[in-house]
Symmetry: C2
Subunit: 402 residues, 2 copies
């Protein structure tokens, strides 16, 4: 039987990361491709204790019975405190929605706003799954040029005038894929421009708490006097991705629409996952646990930096992030990194080639994203050495042929 799928499906493919994840069951493969938190930082005993509490006494029935779409009221109260501690004050239960991972927060914002053909601005480069989700609404991604400290504000305003976008999507703190952080001045500037033009900002902040160096810069939303920002923050990188819990905060009219959209997809987030998150927040231990995890991330990032210095060709220009999970680099040489990926896999190392992070994939032809959070320093060195040798060889070949 031939199936007549919806037109959105012709725009959607399995995302690069998810397809590459399937390779990762082979233990010899050193993966710089994913975005997994360090497995060593997953506090299995602690979360097992919270799960046991959630499934005993008065909580057990609410863990297992249906819940409300918005999420448990006591969890939303704890999330308001959590947001407040991050600099996002004055939230009420009507401003806050529990979502099944940050991915769902993004999906619900687009569901609330995007009709076929609507424009959305993204940074060049941006989170690849965002582009995929936007395709599912048949929206059009328009790239905005970036600078070292954020978005190019002139280009932002130019693209707003040119495309009349409904939304600007960005990851301002330890960006995926670049690892860079927008400056406070850049944050203020982009909020001012978006507010003036009536463009909603979707701020994706899964990595903000994972700063191992430099000074904290508060979320965009903390600068937001004009209620222009919908903020999505996930517990995937600081508690557990497997439990699928995140929070969205924004103007209550938008949160209401997102809740209606959520009713029509998973009805509500797993109650057990919600209660584990609630108990963790109530314990007051999360902040200290994050502190304890930071040296692990720093060690791995430092290992990647030394290995890059030692093994990668001099044509590789890269970021050196103060937190988060990713390093981004570009070859000042005519390498097609996507075509080289199978050879890298033969050398037991994987990266993600840059094209998938762009509204216009040609822009990422010679760029790669490297994740350092889920491999040991020893394996990071080994993997970067393998990649460095491969890239050096290819650049030498290109020079000979060119």
């Amino acid at each position: 039987m031939e199936f007549n799928f919806s037109s959105r499906m012709s725009l959607m493919n399995g995302t690069a990361t998810r397809e590459i994840f399937k390779l990762l069951s082979r233990p010899e493969i050193i993966s710089f491709a994913g975005g997994l938190p360090a497995s060593e930082c997953l506090l299995t005993e602690k979360l097992a204790r919270f799960a046991a509490e959630a499934l005993s006494g008065a909580d057990a029935k609410r863990a297992l019975q249906y819940g409300t779409t918005e999420g448990f009221a006591d969890l939303r109260r704890e999330l308001i405190n959590y947001l407040d501690a991050a600099g996002i004050g004055n939230q009420t239960p009507e401003n806050v929605l529990v979502v099944s991972g940050g991915q769902q927060g993004i999906d619900l914002v687009l569901k609330s706003f995007i009709d076929k053909g609507d424009s959305v601005l993204v940074e060049n480069p941006t989170y690849l799954a965002f582009l995929q989700i936007l395709n599912s609404y048949e929206g059009i991604a328009r790239g905005v040029d970036a600078t070292d400290d954020g978005l190019d504000l002139d280009d932002l305003e130019k693209k707003i005038r040119l495309y009349g976008p409904k939304i600007l999507y960005c990851v301002p703190t330890f960006s995926n894929p670049t690892g860079k952080t927008y400056s406070a001045a850049n944050r203020r500037g982009l909020i001012e421009i978006c507010a003036r033009h009536g463009v909603i900002i979707l701020e994706d902040d899964p990595y903000g708490r994972l700063r191992f160096k430099g000074e904290h810069i508060p979320p965009l939303k903390s600068f937001d006097a004009s209620d222009t920002v919908v903020y999505v923050s996930s517990f995937s990188k600081i508690m557990s991705p497997g439990l699928r819990v995140a929070v969205a905060a924004g103007p209550k009219e938008i949160i209401r629409k997102m809740a209606i959209g959520k009713q029509g997809t998973d009805l509500h987030t797993s109650n057990l996952s919600q209660l584990i998150t609630l108990k963790y927040l109530q314990s007051g231990e999360l902040a200290a646990d994050i502190q304890k995890s930071l040296p692990i991330y720093k060690l791995r990032k430092d290992a990647m930096m030394s290995a890059i210095d030692r093994y990668m060709p001099e044509e590789f220009i890269h970021t050196d992030p103060d937190g988060g999970l990713f390093v981004w680099g570009r070859f000042n040489a005519p390498l097609n990194v996507k075509e080289l990926l199978p050879e890298a896999v033969e050398q037991n190392a994987v990266y993600i080639s840059g094209g998938v992070f762009y509204a216009d994939p040609a822009l990422g032809r010679s760029a790669i994203r490297l994740n350092y959070s889920n491999e040991s320093p020893e394996r990071i060195e080994r993997g970067i050495a393998a990649l460095g040798n491969l890239f050096k060889k290819k650049i030498a070949e290109a020079k000979r042929n060119g």
Copy 2:
């Protein structure tokens, strides 16, 4: 700030059940409105034991780390056995997708197929949330007439010719909202018609295991030689709705599209919920536990039948289901049951008025859905008595005025 929401949002409101759920925190309210499994049947100690296992030893890391979109491979293998026991044989891992509740299974099928303006056939009446999800894709629901033993096959074929629908959606076993079950002959007939016209059947089967009377009729999909059926079955009513786990099974091309759609929404279903389900299936205890729960459901359904006989006006014509959660009835009298709902709430009893279950709400003006699964026999009697008195009074008033 004025928000320029997507056009789909103008079609979507909070569904009637979810809004009514908010009333239910008042303990004096006797609710016939929801679709909750009996809280007494939620096996908290057993599921707590499985959760503890899932969060210890080798499983702990996979409970907490990212997983694959399709669901754990060992869970999918258990689900293939589970489907096989239900009469759906010959499934492979490529035919099966773990979803975050049956609701998400429905959502992903529509995401895979429905463009704005596409027609979908539904039974008159049908599951209200289905209509809401279809609105989120701006599809158009077309009602098919029903008979006591299924769909009116002549009307089905007529509507297929008239509207060229992509999908027929139905709940063939203990239907929501009517509680009725399609006969085997009707199942064969509708598969033959849909296969001949290339119409995908979306079979929603959350209640099939909850039969407390009469003879088992296998799922539509077990009659499906032509690979026309996508089958969705939930663990919400037989294990726990709060954990949000269900399974979709269908042609592998469709399951692949659904998985791509799922990547773009919640990435994967909660791993902890998946592992609890896996361990429950591996234990082999599910079937016996369901058997033990059936007398509770039967007792409640019987209590509702006696109370209806005793208290409801003779103008109330209703179903008497052999399983599932719902009784459906219609007043042979000019009652607007939606307008009466606030008065029912004053009498501490709630039902769902029939209009929301129809593609054309006018058809449900004098019909109501009554749920019996989550109230005790005593409260069922008290609630039906309150409703019966109200409806009798209103019918008498209508006769005086008419």
